[in-house]
């Protein structure tokens, strides 16, 4: 296997070694890139190494760490993007990782400071400077600070701290060159350790000597920032943002399907596949695997279920458009700085299910893909909260691929069936959260979070981020979707699916009111949920049965990628507990839905 050049901060996946990066023995020197959350470390990292690191406008985007290579004239360094920390006395998992990385030491440390919040940033800076590692300070967001009337004298700060200070704007690249040039000037700070009770006094003294605040008038942005957290206006803005986001996702998704991909598949892909079908000869086993069943001598993209017919169609026509649409909207929201404000709006509700408001961010990420969602639960402070949040995400937060299939398959029968699925999932989310909150020992900490200023997302950063997310989806999903359909066809031909289905048939019949054949689809949901919904289509289920099957499928075992990340984040015992909860909740919810349907029919 190729060595990893780093771990993707959003999906945990291995980043392949880039051909240009030199071998590790060339680069043994290590630079740590540290600072408070949301000061722009990941933007620096991307600029300095050329390795893409996910950055957003909210604290806690980077929860793991990434490494990349930085070449300067004559030197070569391994650059480590340390997760943001307010202090080296850790209060959450990400800060614990940061503390360990800094304790491990390095040859240099770049301390990134937010010029708009100097006082608070100095807490970590002084703690890091005490470690006796040659340091250099990047005073970032100087443009924003100036705009807000905060003037920081970099030369005076250099004098105070005893290490070089470079003014930068990481998002535009301003000052990056100077930072690299002055990297060799990094030195050990002469400052003595600060006793804890003298911390603020000392910091106050430094701030009074280096910072000047000039009066400025309130801007429309200040007004909007205040209104967004207002009792009434905040809720109205929240409703507007969420419904607008939903509409934009639908518009982009449907637009791409109806105007671009569906016509393309019909006019360009269908003729090619029909030629292949003729060549293979309908009825041959290879035809069954690749093209699948023909209906009236034609391929039915949704039902034929061949690897290159339904497989390609599901991934590229039904799912990909919604992935693009969802991540376009999410990336915009992330970079604008709105998401932490949602945390304020949802805090009261989420508190009642044992997590606090900041859990909306992992949950929203989970609506794209459960894997980054579960990784992002690291921003939550306690193990109990992380368990509840991760379990809720894997049970009741459908990923974009699954949602695309639900909308695609059930939407064509009737909108109310789509709403039934979403309603059932939402209700399960609330009820299960409430139950876990009541039953699990311990208590959940409170929301304490910094709200970033609003920022207009940069088009370039937005495009790069969207591209990396879509590329990540294609790389990860393609083999699983095509392989999943291949495996499903092979297992069906070999009779394995039939055997397993018969085994669980009584449960499926009695509890869920589903035929044994639906069991196969739900079992294959372990591989990928979108493929599993696709498998339900040719079974000829009634609309109600489809709803029951989809809900059960969404909630039961997580897909393989989610399972792996759950295991890594929660450990074996809690993963087992979480899986138990999932299966139990899935069958309970499916059973109740079935009972309701049979009662009314």
């Amino acid at each position: 296997m190729a060595p990893c050049d780093g771990r993707c901060s959003s999906c945990g996946g291995c980043l392949p070694k880039t051909p240009s990066s030199p071998s590790p023995e060339e680069c043994t020197k290590r630079i740590l890139l540290t600072g408070n959350p949301n000061v722009g470390k990941s933007a620096f990292f991307s600029r300095l190494t050329g390795v893409h690191a996910m950055s957003s406008n909210y604290p806690g985007t980077t929860v793991g760490f990434m490494e990349g290579t930085l070449r300067t004239e004559g030197s070569c360094y391994r650059l480590v993007d340390v997760p943001g920390a307010y202090t080296l006395e850790p209060t959450n998992e990400a800060e614990e990782i940061a503390r360990r990385l800094i304790e491990d030491g390095g040859d240099r440390i770049i301390i990134v400071m937010d010029a708009t919040a100097l006082e608070r940033n100095l807490v970590l800076a002084l703690q890091v400077l005490e470690k006796g590692i040659p340091s250099i300070v990047a005073l970032n967001m100087v443009d924003e600070a100036r705009h807000r009337g905060v003037l920081v004298d970099a030369a005076a700060l250099e004098e105070e701290l005893g290490v070089p200070v470079v003014q930068t704007v990481a998002v535009t690249g301003q000052g990056i060159r100077e930072l690299v040039v002055r990297l060799d000037e990094a030195r050990i700070s002469p400052l003595s350790a600060t006793p804890r009770d003298e911390r603020w006094q000392r910091i106050g003294a430094i701030v009074s000597r280096v910072q000047r605040v000039v009066h400025r008038h309130h801007t429309w942005r200040d007004r909007l920032e205040d209104l967004s957290v207002h009792k009434l206006w905040g809720a109205l803005i929240g409703i507007c943002v969420l419904s607008l986001s939903y509409m934009v996702v639908r518009e982009i998704g449907e637009g791409l399907i109806n105007r671009l991909l569906e016509p393309f598949f019909e006019s360009a892909v269908r003729p090619v596949l029909m030629r292949v079908s003729d060549l293979l000869g309908p009825g041959s086993s290879l035809h069954t695997l690749l093209i699948g069943t023909l209906f009236d001598g034609q391929i039915d993209f949704e039902q034929s279920f061949g690897v290159i017919s339904t497989g390609l169609y599901v991934e590229f026509v039904m799912v990909l458009p919604y992935i693009v649409a969802f991540y376009a909207v999410l990336s915009f929201l992330e970079d604008s700085g709105y998401l932490p404000r949602l945390a304020i709006l949802f805090d009261s509700l989420l508190h009642r299910i044992g997590i606090h408001g900041y859990a909306v961010i992992p949950t929203l990420l989970g609506l794209g893909c459960n894997v980054p969602g579960i990784l992002a639960t690291r921003v939550l402070e306690s193990r109990r909260e992380r368990f509840i949040a991760a379990t809720l995400i894997s049970v009741a937060v459908p990923c974009a691929a699954l949602q695309a299939m639900v909308v695609g398959v059930l939407g064509s029968i009737g909108l109310r069936y789509v709403l039934l699925v979403y309603g059932a999932l939402l209700l399960s989310w609330v009820v299960l959260g409430r139950v876990m909150h009541k039953l699990l020992p311990g208590f959940s900490p409170e929301l304490i979070v910094e709200i970033p200023p609003y920022r207009m997302p940069s088009l370039h950063a937005f495009a790069v981020k969207l591209w990396f997310r879509v590329r990540g989806f294609l790389l990860e999903a393609t083999p699983l979707v095509l392989g999943g359909i291949l495996l499903a066809n092979l297992l069906t031909t070999a009779g394995v699916i039939g055997f397993l289905s018969n085994l669980v048939a009584p449960v499926f019949n009695v509890v869920l009111g589903l035929p044994a054949s639906a069991a196969g689809a739900i079992l294959l949901g372990i591989l990928r949920k979108d493929v599993a919904v696709g498998m339900l289509v040719p079974l000829g289920l009634s609309a109600n049965q489809l709803v029951v099957a989809t809900v059960t499928l969404s909630m039961t075992f997580p897909c393989i990628a989610t399972f792996v990340v759950l295991w890594k984040e929660l450990g074996a015992r809690d993963t087992a507990r979480s899986l138990g909860i999932m299966v139990l909740t899935a069958f309970t919810a499916g059973g109740i839905l079935n009972a309701i349907f049979s009662f009314f029919s």
């Binding site: 307010y86 202090t87 006395e89 209060t91 708009t116 919040a117 006082e119 608070r120 807490v123 807000r148 905060v150 603020w200 605040v213 009066h215 920032e225 205040d226 957290v229 207002h230 009792k231 905040g234 932490p340 945390a343 304020i344 709006l345 805090d347 009261s348 508190h351 606090h356 408001g357 402070e381 900490p445 409170e446 929301l447 304490i448 979070v449 910094e450 709200i451 200023p453």
Partner: protein, 82 residues
């Protein structure tokens, strides 16, 4: 007047006089809150929702429970934000 952050009216400036004890206090301190620091309350959400304050031009959201243990004093806090 001395009161909890919860009880402080929206838009009013006050000085922190006592921090909550324990881990919550540490997390608040990490964000730059300490006794003697001036803050302005922006809003409090209904249904025991969080309080948002302005600290040196930066918004910070604090859960209802913690903000009921954060004591502030409105005396001697007049004037503009530093």
């Amino acid at each position: 007047m001395v009161m909890t952050l919860n009880a402080l009216e929206d838009g009013v400036r006050a000085i922190i006089s006592k921090m909550p004890s324990g881990e919550c206090g540490q997390r608040l301190e990490a964000l730059g809150l300490y006794p003697g620091k001036a803050i302005t309350k922006i809003s409090g959400m209904p249904f025991r929702g969080p309080v948002t304050i302005l600290l040196d031009q930066r918004q910070i959201a604090i859960g209802h429970g913690v903000s009921s243990r954060l004591i502030v004093d409105t005396a001697g806090s007049g004037g503009n934000s530093p």
